[in-house]
């Protein structure tokens, strides 16, 4: 029983990371119906910005995270402007292939500029300590990841529910044409969505650096795919769904590594995806809406 709780605790911080990445997927999908394949790689860029901020500028981890968020918000806006905006009225397959292209571009430009080797997140940035609470061993890095992810999610909820930008985002995702008629600048709102989603991914990237201790230019692929599964699991386009989906995926993954065969860890995530797509493609929180001709 204690071990089960221990696994749950371990899974929570991983789940928080997946949830943060999944939020970006779901927000972008909700607004322009695009699976932003490059999202995991934005997370990778965020991790590297955090790494360089810590190693070169000697900042502490929180400043590094904020720096990564700022840089990636900017990067997200540029990606949308250059690659996705010209394709807004193209077929979804064309946009998807472009997104795959952007993903490659980020990965291999990073390899080209920084090299393919993995970098070790400096220990000075975050000293790992273990606390013993009621027989459970709780690492301070898990607490850090979980708490900061939670804070970011609360801020996101506030932005979406109570600010003008958030209202505009909800309006555009509901009906783009009607939103234009109401005087909402669709371009600006979509840029804003990419900025917020990418900033969350960057924060997740720095957390991955703290959590796994190493970062490399291809680190975004697998967490990106798993976060996508999380977004689909929760119901893509639905923000609370992405959060729940992220935690479910994180817990599931720790359970499989803890009790089963860790080699099957990735296969389980993909298996979950197939099952949802076949049983309830709209996800846990999704509502069925019939196809219109």
């Amino acid at each position: 029983m204690l071990e089960l709780i221990q696994q749950l605790v371990n899974g929570l911080s991983l789940g928080a990371i997946y949830a943060l990445i999944a939020l970006g997927y779901t927000m972008v999908y909700g607004i322009i119906k695009l699976i932003n394949f490059a999202h995991g790689d934005v997370m990778m860029v965020g991790a590297f910005v955090g790494y360089f901020s810590v190693t070169l500028l000697g900042t502490n981890i929180l400043v590094a995270m904020l720096a990564a968020m700022a840089v990636c918000a900017f990067l997200g806006v540029i990606i949308e402007k250059v690659a996705y905006r010209p394709l807004r009225n193209a077929t979804r397959i064309a946009s998807l292939i472009t997104a795959i292209g952007v993903s490659f571009l980020l990965e291999y430009l990073t390899i080209f500029l920084i090299g393919p080797n993995q970098k070790v997140f400096p220990a000075s940035a975050f000293t790992v300590k273990a606390y013993d609470i009621a027989g459970l061993s709780i690492l301070n890095k898990d607490v850090f990841v979980f708490v900061s992810a939670l804070v970011l999610m609360v801020i996101l909820q506030y932005i979406i529910k109570y600010t003008k930008t958030g209202k505009a985002m909800r309006a555009v995702s509901l009906d783009m044409e009607a939103a234009v008629l109401m005087g909402i600048s669709v371009d600006k709102t979509i840029s804003m969505t990419f900025a917020i989603g990418s900033a969350l991914a960057a924060a997740a990237g720095v957390m991955v650096g703290v959590y796994y201790n190493t970062i490399n230019p291809l680190m975004g692929i697998i967490p990106g795919l798993k976060a996508f599964v999380a977004a689909v699991l929760g119901g893509i386009g639905i923000i609370p769904g992405a959060m729940v989906g992220g935690f479910v995926m994180g817990l599931l993954e720790t359970m499989v590594s803890g009790y089963g065969n860790s080699l099957y860890r990735d296969a389980v995530a993909f298996g979950v995806l197939i099952l949802i797509l076949l049983i309830k493609p709209t996800g846990i929180f999704g509502k069925d809406s019939g196809e219109k001709v």
């Binding site: 292939i97 571009l105 430009l109 080209f112 996508f228 065969n261 099957y264 993909f270 995806l273 076949l278």
Partner: protein, 316 residues
């Protein structure tokens, strides 16, 4: 319905061209005019052509974006290698077996997933391709992640050439048949096709299974040329490689797929020392082609005698 008569002069000319091409390269190989380096790239080129043409049947003609082609290649490669090395069957049996196994995998995967549309299908096929790879990694009989090595080199130019010709003939004839028209109608408008009484699922699965079988053959040829197969070789990056060829050539153009496969193979060979630059170029190709020419360089046009005629200024 018009019935096409076989044009014998054309058939003979085409056969003669093929025989001449085959003999020329075979002569080059036996006299060692084409060295090892050229031969390896020639082999990759043929395998890439088979992969691109077969994926184009699924992605281009049927309009179902599949990102799991490398998975079928893996199934074919492993089946053929098990048949020839562990069970001592001849190479031909290995090839047939690989096509059947990959086709079966295509059927098992295709029936449930082809109900999905567009990007969901793309992700589902990507996931299934990865599941195939992870499963292969966990089977001890085939050495798990280490893979099988010391495979006899049975893939010769004759087999490669034969497989390429067979792939192209099957795909071209399928596309030009009534089946092909049904397949294309699914791409153009699935709902309209259904209303016309076309069993869309049947044609989607058919295209998927045929495409998967040829990917299996490509995998078998690959395994019996490069001595070693590992699950890691067939990860989703390999599927993306094939996708780049299909997108570059034109979604729905067999000649486009062939040209793009040749181009990409040459590009890969030239940029061998700089793998990052190759991938950056791939990325830029994908983005720029999609923004400026989303139907691919050739679109759905075929490079045929009419186009060639126009280029040479000959009026037909």
């Amino acid at each position: 319905m018009q019935t096409k008569k076989i044009s014998w002069p054309r058939f003979l000319v085409e056969t003669a061209v093929l025989v001449a091409l085959f003999t020329l390269v075979q002569y080059g190989i036996t006299t060692r005019m084409l060295d090892q380096y050229v031969q390896i790239n020639l082999t990759s080129m043929c395998i890439n052509i088979i992969l691109a043409v077969s994926l184009n049947l699924i992605n281009g003609f049927t309009g179902q974006l599949s990102l799991g082609h490398a998975g079928f290649m893996a199934v074919g490669a492993y089946t053929a290698v098990i048949l020839t090395t562990k069970l001592d069957y001849p190479f031909l049996a290995g090839l047939v077996g690989s096509a059947m196994a990959a086709g079966l995998a295509g059927f098992v995967i295709g029936v449930p997933t082809l109900r999905l549309k567009g990007d969901y299908l793309a992700i589902a096929t990507l996931a299934l391709g990865e599941i195939i790879r992870v499963t292969l990694q966990n089977i001890d009989y085939i050495n798990g992640p280490a893979g099988i090595s010391g495979i006899p080199k049975l893939t010769t130019w004759a087999w490669l050439f034969g497989a390429v010709v067979l792939t192209i003939i099957v795909v071209v004839n399928l596309v030009n048949s009534s089946y092909g028209r049904a397949i294309i109608s699914v791409r153009e408008d699935e709902i309209a096709a259904e209303l016309m009484g076309i069993n869309t699922t049947k044609y989607k699965v058919l295209a998927f299974v045929i495409g998967a079988s040829f990917a299996g053959i490509a995998g078998a040829l690959y395994g019996h040329y490069f001595y070693i197969i590992k699950p890691e070789t067939f990860n989703f990056m390999k599927s993306f490689d094939i996708l780049v060829m299909v997108v570059l050539g034109g979604l729905g153009s067999t000649t486009g797929a062939v040209i793009a496969a040749i181009f990409v193979t040459i590009l890969t060979a030239v940029l061998q020392p700089f793998p990052e630059i190759r991938m950056i170029l791939y990325a830029l190709i994908l983005i720029i082609v999609m923004i400026y020419r989303p139907q691919g360089l050739m679109g759905n046009k075929e490079l045929g005698r009419q186009t060639l005629g126009r280029i040479w200024g000959i009026r037909r």
